[in-house]
Symmetry: C2
Subunit: 203 residues, 2 copies
């Protein structure tokens, strides 16, 4: 059995629009109120796009069934999903049968301390990566407890690696660890306890 | 002394453009590839906005100094910032001299399990809220350790409350707790250890 660690980004359709939306997000945080842009015009153009999307939106129930079909959440989740503008997105590779990792570079939308990744964003990336490592190792579950330790600031604007490894499965209890490193040094480490259960998918 | 728990959203300038960008983010995740929208056209229009913003962007160093001036990160952080499209945004109120809370409703961009908030998004909201509670109580610091316990699924599409309280300050060690509740029931609880230090602001 092969499983997808993340969904592939397609060059057309919603994935292309989402990639463009990520550029808008980055550029707006970079601009603030000190750029030369006409922000009233930008707001009008973005509201016009939102109007068109809302006018043609599928019913929520229909979209929920659609988005949980097949690969499930890998196309739309807020960490790897090519359909989600909030996702950086992370692109995982398998390191071994129980370990995965992704390298990414984050910018101003994910800032906490000056020029550093927000501690809560690190928590988001790690929680998700621990969950995907569980799937890769063969036994998935819901997060029951997650402990994060912050060792040094995680930098923006340069490559960071997010890795996770399933350590043990004992009955329904799954234990998984992970870390974010930059320049080979650990910035944040995580320990997670997951319970092997999952709510039903929308039908 | 009064401190701002969050920055006020202005009706014009970048805040208005960011509010429109949030509508686009929500509508794109709602649409997926099953809406009636012409996604190639949407991508073109969003890329054109990004081009214009990038062409008029301030130098990064200049923006970093600007964004850390005065209120510091409350205008641009990824949880409350009116200049950050990724922020839901949370709007805090003081409950007492050491406790704050915010009520918000999250949608599809923040989904983890079906129709539920992503566990890592809950971690992001709690980490930030614990930090703001520290500021409100008078002694702030950097997250050193954060433990999250997940008691039940946190729902999308209905109001949830994110609260935090500074419990103790012992030398440089700050202990803070928080929780996310829905319909009065705890969904996620958090315990944080913060160290009273902060990196210098860009100048």
């Amino acid at each position: 059995m092969t499983i997808d660690l993340h969904a592939e980004t397609r060059p057309t359709g919603v994935d292309a629009a989402v990639a463009a939306a990520r550029r808008v997000i980055d550029a707006l945080v970079r601009a603030g109120d000190i750029s030369g842009a006409d922000m009233a015009d930008v707001a009008d153009r973005l509201n016009a796009v939102a109007d068109d999307l809302e006018d043609t939106a599928p019913p929520l129930d229909e979209r929920l069934v659609d988005m949980w079909r097949g690969d499930g959440n890998t196309r739309h989740d807020p960490v790897t999903g090519p359909e989600n503008p909030i996702a950086p997105p992370l692109r995982y590779e398998a390191v071994d049968t129980r370990t995965i990792e992704a390298t990414t570079t984050l910018g101003l939308p994910h800032q906490g301390p000056p020029s550093s990744v927000h501690g809560g964003v690190s928590a988001l990336l790690l929680d998700h990566t621990l969950g995907v490592a569980n799937g890769w190792a063969g036994t998935s579950g819901m997060t029951a407890e997650l402990t994060l330790r912050y060792h040094r600031l995680t930098p923006l604007f340069e490559p960071i690696t997010v890795a996770a490894r399933q350590v043990s499965v004992d009955g329904r209890k799954i234990r998984t660890t992970g870390e974010i490193t930059a320049n080979g040094e650990p910035c944040v480490t995580a320990e997670g306890l997951f319970i092997a259960t999952y709510p039903p998918r929308p039908r």
